[in-house]
């Protein structure tokens, strides 16, 4: 993203941006494995902010600490003024050696086919989730999404058609500081070799276009169980299968995710008035 060009986080940190909770796995299971993999940021799908806060309270007696982004922001907001400093503060908070910390965020993926339906869904979900992503087969809709400040990611399913991503969309995404979210799990769970090669072929086409525009992108595994998570480096290695050189995906596993999350946390805070303006007590 353009706004964060001069900012870099620790390379070894990573995040998992798209966790779907099911009946068999709990947040604690995910945190347990995330702690071993140094995955410091977990985003849970379809868990609202209030539900997340309740779940966090119940997690105790583990070798790691679990926090919500708003809690971390509360600690930092009086010390740091600019957004960049707050992002740096988040990173320092996460990589402190003494206490292993994991930040748990919430997200919602909107899969709508028309603009009206999507606008309705955004209004409904906007304040309930920290990250909002859009997954759609409609090319024009994705272009509209690239303009909208309320939305963060455009999710790309590698099983879909590569034609939904075109030059104009890549250019718009770059201009507006949005991100493509590449879901890598179809590579791991393809049924046959034919299916696998089709996914790789689609992925290569999409990534070639994205890389040619230098548009920001992030990798996610979309894990259903804790053992489907991967470390940041492993995600970058899997990304090599799609023709993304290891060095070009440095920011795709942690930096962009944290940056979006911090921006949205600031926006969701009660002191926020509008971009660049916030209420200061006293």
């Amino acid at each position: 993203m353009q706004k964060d060009k001069d900012f870099s986080f620790s390379i070894s940190s990573s995040s998992e941006n798209f966790i779907s909770l099911d009946q068999t796995s709990s947040i604690e299971n995910f945190c347990e494995i995330a702690n071993q993999l140094s995955v410091l940021l977990l985003c849970f799908e379809n868990v609202t902010i209030s539900e997340r806060n309740t779940l966090i309270k119940n997690i105790e007696g583990h070798p790691y600490n679990v926090f919500s982004p708003s809690f971390v922001y509360e600690q930092l907001k009086n010390k740091q003024i600019s957004n960049e400093k707050i992002k740096e503060g988040f990173n320092k908070f996460l990589i402190t050696e003494e206490s292993k910390s994991i930040i748990i965020a919430t997200r919602k993926t909107l899969s709508e086919s028309t603009k009206d339906k999507l606008m309705h869904a955004i209004t409904k979900n906007r304040k309930q989730y920290e990250i909002i992503s859009v997954n759609s087969d409609n090319k024009d809709l994705l272009k509209w999404v690239a303009h909208d400040r309320r939305l963060d990611y455009i999710s790309i399913d590698l099983r879909g058609k590569p034609s939904i991503i075109d030059n104009a969309l890549c250019s718009l995404v770059k201009q507006n500081g949005k991100c493509f979210e590449i879901i890598l799990s179809p590579l791991l769970f393809s049924d046959t070799n034919k299916d696998f090669s089709r996914i790789v072929r689609t992925g290569k086409k999409i990534m070639k276009l994205i890389l040619s525009y230098n548009a920001p992108f992030i990798f996610t595994m979309c894990p259903q169980t804790p053992l489907q998570m991967r470390t940041g480096k492993q995600l970058r290695y899997i990304g090599e299968l799609l023709g993304v050189p290891f060095n070009k995906s440095k920011f795709a596993v942690f930096d962009y995710q944290l940056s979006s999350l911090v921006d949205n946390t600031i926006k969701l805070h009660e002191n926020y008035v509008f971009e660049g303006v916030k209420e200061v007590s006293g």
Binding site: I33, R230, L235, Y237
Partner: protein
């Protein structure tokens, strides 16, 4: 001119901790995944060799050529299950010296060692 091909040693750990994975099954899975992705020729060039494996702690050491390190890493990351059991192979340490790799692996295996 004679060129020496350098080796790389990867220390890995299998998660979850209580998994009892046989080295034979693990070898078969890594070999077949590598072969699926890079073919027979690629697998031949990689020079994969399993140096060491501790059944109790599920910590192992695998050797490959330096040029095929990233291919091995991809293959390892792509493995989701062994013998019907869901696992995660986590590479912990990569080095070019076998003694260093063995030292690291044995430190992880020793009971007093704290992995964190």
């Amino acid at each position: 001119m004679v060129t020496i091909e350098r080796d790389r040693y990867v220390v890995f750990k299998i998660l979850p901790d209580d998994t009892k994975t046989e080295i034979v099954d693990l070898k078969r899975n890594i070999w077949s995944m590598y072969q699926r992705l890079y073919g027979l020729e690629g697998t031949t060039d990689a020079g994969l060799f399993f140096e060491d494996y501790n059944d109790e702690k599920s910590i192992g050491l695998v050797r490959c050529s330096s040029k095929s390190l990233s291919y091995l890493m991809i293959s390892i990351a792509m493995i989701t299950e062994v013998d019907g059991t869901e696992i995660l192979i986590l590479p912990l340490f990569v080095t070019g010296l076998i003694n260093k790799a063995k030292k690291y692996a044995s430190a992880l295996v020793s009971p007093n060692h704290n992995v964190d």
